[in-house]
């Protein structure tokens, strides 16, 4: 029985949708890691990543302007209250990398640090 024009279009849409789903299943969704920067701590202050895994760090600062900096990876962003700051990265090197707040935020700023751990 020949397909009507409407049935053909629906079948095509279903095909495209199914194809997209298959692609989505084949590709791991990029991990998003929320990080809160508040006086005087990053939450979390230890972030574990896998080498080669694309990831987005999503920062918020509820109080004052903060900075997130990983000097060894030359990676940094300002974190402005009321905005979300994002850093996309694909870690290429295994190891432990210190990060810190690099915008002076008060008495306790010096202890506002953490570690980025990239595993195999």
């Amino acid at each position: 029985m020949p397909l009507s024009r409407r049935s053909f279009i629906l079948a095509g849409v279903a095909g495209v949708t199914f194809g997209s789903l298959r692609w989505a299943l084949a590709q791991p969704a990029e991990r998003v890691i929320p990080v809160v920067a508040r006086k005087f701590v990053f939450l979390p202050n230890e972030i574990v990543l896998k080498r080669g895994e694309p990831v987005t760090l999503e920062f918020t600062a509820p109080e004052v302007v903060m900075g997130f900096s990983v000097p060894a990876l030359k990676l940094r962003t300002d974190i402005i209250p009321g905005q979300v700051a994002r850093l996309h990265m694909v870690p290429e090197t295994e190891g432990t990398f210190d990060f810190l707040c690099d915008i002076f935020c008060g008495d306790g700023h010096e202890g506002m640090t953490g570690r980025l751990i990239v595993t195999a």
């Binding site: 810190l100 915008i103 002076f104 700023h109």
Partner: protein, 297 residues
């Protein structure tokens, strides 16, 4: 006040059992001999007045006063004194910040030497962009000349992101162009102008641009604070010397995971704290540094 003394007496009186650094080039003293005379100044840094932490300094209320007394007792009074920042410990409260600055100023008023130059540290200036500091101590960047040596005071702390900034860089460039390439130049600032330990916030974000501006000048020395310990480093021909603190020492750059103050040792009170005397000799071409510990006095 400049005193006329011979070189041997000068070295002796300023304590040059310490380290002597040759600044600039050995030859081509065209600028030097007739224009500048020997003198010395004292660098005090990081007194953090208002800090409270008995585990690292149970004598926080008296350490600055002890330093003032020590400077006043020097055999030869310095020509002038510089404070390279973090005069006070930070606070979120603008009134407490001003109280601390007022108290600090009253304590250092007991110094016998009246010619004193101040610059801010991040604890003084980063939370209000230098507003309170300017009320009490004046501009946060400026230059002055003394006995043929050009002194440049740079502010790398009023911006909480530790930038000198485009405006000040332009000012510095303009200030330097008035001087010969072989003029003796001393830069005073708070943070290191090079990446000493960025993971500990021991850097200036645009410090390399400052160094680039200084690099054409043959005879430049930088004195700074911030890291609470004596440290010496060269970027090309430019020497950078960090001073001890007057509140608590910090560990050597990158020597341990966290940048935590060194604990107070009751067996050795005031250990690691001190100030320095800097002698400008050979018309600013030789810098002699004498570290003066507060301990044991």
């Amino acid at each position: 006040m400049h005193r006329s003394i011979n070189r041997r007496d000068f070295l002796k009186l300023t304590g040059l059992g310490g380290v002597v650094f040759a600044s600039g080039l050995a030859g081509g003293a065209s600028y030097a001999a007739s224009k500048a005379s020997d003198f010395h100044f004292v660098q005090l840094s990081d007194s953090h007045w208002g800090f409270s932490g008995p585990a690292v300094n149970p004598e926080a209320g008296s350490t600055l006063k002890r330093a003032v007394a020590a400077v006043n007792s020097l055999a030869m009074p310095p020509d002038f004194i510089i404070f390279t920042g973090d005069l006070t410990h930070t606070t979120d409260d603008p009134q407490i910040r001003r109280t601390r600055m007022r108290e600090f100023k009253a304590i250092v008023a007991d110094l016998n030497v009246r010619n004193i130059h101040f610059l801010p540290g991040e604890h003084d200036a980063s939370l209000d962009h230098g507003a309170a500091f300017q009320e009490f101590f004046g501009p946060t960047h400026y230059s002055f000349d003394y006995q043929g040596v050009h002194f440049v005071v740079l502010d790398n702390v009023s911006d909480p992101a530790a930038r000198v900034g485009e405006e000040q860089l332009a000012w510095l460039k303009s200030d330097l162009t008035r001087h010969a390439k072989d003029a003796p130049i001393v830069v005073l600032t708070h943070r290191p102008l090079f990446d000493l330990a960025p993971q500990w916030d021991w850097a200036t974000r645009d410090g390399s641009q400052v160094v680039d501006l200084l690099m054409p000048y043959e005879n430049v020395t930088v004195f700074y604070g911030h890291i609470h310990q004596e440290h010496h480093h060269m970027t090309g021909h430019i020497a950078h010397h960090a001073a001890r603190s007057l509140i608590f020492p910090l560990p050597a750059p990158g020597s341990q995971p966290k940048r935590e103050p060194v604990k107070w040792d009751p067996e050795h009170p005031f250990r690691g704290l001190g100030f320095r005397s800097v002698a400008e000799d050979d018309a600013g071409r030789k810098i002699a540094i004498d570290e003066r510990p507060l301990a044991g006095g």
